[in-house]
């Protein structure tokens, strides 16, 4: 078993769980609360006879990437939701007044 302690102020729980998920192929992963703003993650090899090595380094990288994914998802969530809605919707969800304007009125002054 390998135990890793994680400070939730650095890596939110969401990122921790996402990082853990791919490791469940070869490990049983136990996530436990460890007091104020901390969790421990224990890796128990599924196959006793073939314990995989180098888990700490791999997991650290996975945590970083998971954190990054959480950030990117948060930053792009609103646009993504609008995008998907717009793709399936006949009506316009954005403020697209200009696009629906009359070419004679030409509010954007495209004609110069």
């Amino acid at each position: 078993m390998s135990t890793i302690t994680i400070d939730l102020a650095v890596y939110p729980l969401d990122a921790v769980l996402r990082a853990c998920h791919p490791f469940t192929a070869r490990w049983y992963v136990h996530v436990r609360s460890a007091g104020e703003g901390q969790v421990t993650v224990d890796f128990e090899p599924r196959d006793e006879n073939k314990p995989p090595r180098g888990i700490a380094g791999e997991f650290a990288n996975a945590l970083l990437d998971a954190r990054l994914r959480t950030l990117i998802a948060a930053e792009t969530r609103e646009i993504r939701e609008l995008l998907v809605a717009q793709a399936f919707c006949e009506a316009d969800l954005l403020d697209r007044r200009d696009v629906e304007a009359d070419e004679q009125a030409d509010p954007r002054r495209i004609a110069g």
Partner: protein
């Protein structure tokens, strides 16, 4: 050839437009729309009922008749060609049945100012030309295979532009229409919808896109926001069933990211019916921006090949215009179209002996001074001896 001449006119108070004829016309309406040609001193028939006379001889020889006189040449005109005569004596050939490249220059106005513009715009309000264009459409032979609609920027006429397309559909339903436009007005979706609703049976809008990067495109066309407008315009046109062609002029500003532009076109505008990659015309505003724009075509074959590969892989139709075959990578020669129109082609002394001359478009007249340093005759392919 389209000729403009100044003649002496009589009885022309406003511009008159009519079809040309050398022989008598039986139908009364046809006569009122026709110019009777007089190459000698006599008329082929009684001039009564005709729009007027176009004559080489003096007005004196045709006393009292309305028309244009003292013209230098009439032999190039065929029956059915359309000629306008202005009150100031200007005689303009608007349409020639024998030509493969008839077009209507809708307006001299433009809302872009491309660095390489070969038809520099004028800041005038020439909206009143619409009436003339509509009149011309009434007179063009419906058997005409193709007609161009150009400018300036034709869509600046807005409803007038739509009226032109509708008139084409009505009068010339078998004539393929090719409109050259920057497409920016189609940012307004409803404008695209109206054009779509006309349902012209064979309409293509040729729309330039010079970069996959908005700021670069805007710089080349010298109009802020043009990229956004053109890109949304392309989408709106497709949404409303209007066919589009995308045109790229190749020069030092568009070449560096040409393969990326090809990817951009393939991913975002797969519906484009054609992509035209065009050599630079050395005519017009380009001369003010030569430093920024000039690149020897022989030096950009790598990017051109890469771009054509991307577009070809995506199953898009690609043509290369305005390039000499010797300057093109041999793999690209099949994409080259002999496009320089019949009244502009020339060849150079260094072309002598070239095996590909008949397939090559040669040069623009304007393009013979500054052109590729690599123009050379292409050798004949080896032929086996003794007919093996």
């Amino acid at each position: 050839m389209r000729l403009h001449e100044t003649a002496r006119v009589a009885g022309i108070e406003h511009t008159l437009i009519g079809r040309v004829t050398r022989t008598a016309l039986g139908d009364e309406t046809e006569r009122t729309n026709a110019w009777l040609l007089a190459e000698g001193s006599a008329l082929a028939c009684d001039p009564a009922g005709y729009l007027g006379i176009l004559a080489i001889g003096d007005a004196a020889a045709f006393s009292g008749l309305r028309g244009a006189f003292g013209l230098r040449q009439l032999s190039y005109l065929d029956d059915g060609d359309v000629v306008a005569v202005d009150p100031n004596g200007l005689v303009r050939t608007l349409y020639r049945r024998a030509s493969m490249h008839n077009f209507i220059l809708v307006t001299d106005q433009c809302n872009s100012l491309c660095l390489m513009c070969s038809q520099p715009p004028k800041a005038i309000d020439d909206f009143d030309r619409l009436a003339e264009h509509l009149r011309l459409l009434d007179l063009i032979d419906p058997a005409t295979k193709e007609l161009g609609i150009t400018g300036g920027e034709p869509t600046l006429f807005r409803e007038g532009f739509l009226e032109l397309i509708a008139r084409c559909r009505e009068r010339l339903p078998s004539t393929a229409l090719h409109v050259l436009t920057n497409g920016r007005m189609f940012f307004y979706r409803r404008f695209a919808e109206k054009l779509g609703r006309i349902a012209h049976p064979d309409l293509v809008l040729g729309i330039p896109l010079y970069s996959d990067v908005d700021t670069r495109h805007d710089h080349i066309v010298q109009a802020h926001g043009a990229f956004e407008e053109t890109v949304l315009g392309l989408q709106n046109l497709d949404r409303h069933g209007v066919r589009v062609e995308i045109r790229v002029v190749l020069h030092a500003l568009s070449i560096p990211r040409l393969p990326q532009l090809a990817t951009f076109i393939a991913r975002n505008f797969p519906f484009a019916c054609h992509v035209a990659l065009m050599g630079l015309e050395m005519f017009g505003l380009v001369h003010r921006h030569l430093d920024e724009l000039w690149i020897d075509p022989a030096d950009y074959q790598r990017q051109l090949l890469a771009a054509c590969e991307v577009l070809g892989d995506a199953g898009m139709n690609v043509s290369i215009y305005n390039h000499q075959l010797c300057v093109l990578d041999p793999e690209l020669r099949p994409l080259s179209r002999k496009s320089i129109s019949d009244w502009k082609n020339v060849y150079l002394p260094e072309c002598d002996g070239c095996a590909l001359m008949s397939e090559c478009g040669g040069f623009f007249q304007s393009g013979t001074k500054l052109r590729s340093a690599h123009v050379r005759p292409v050798g004949r392919p080896q032929t086996p001896s003794n007919g093996v």
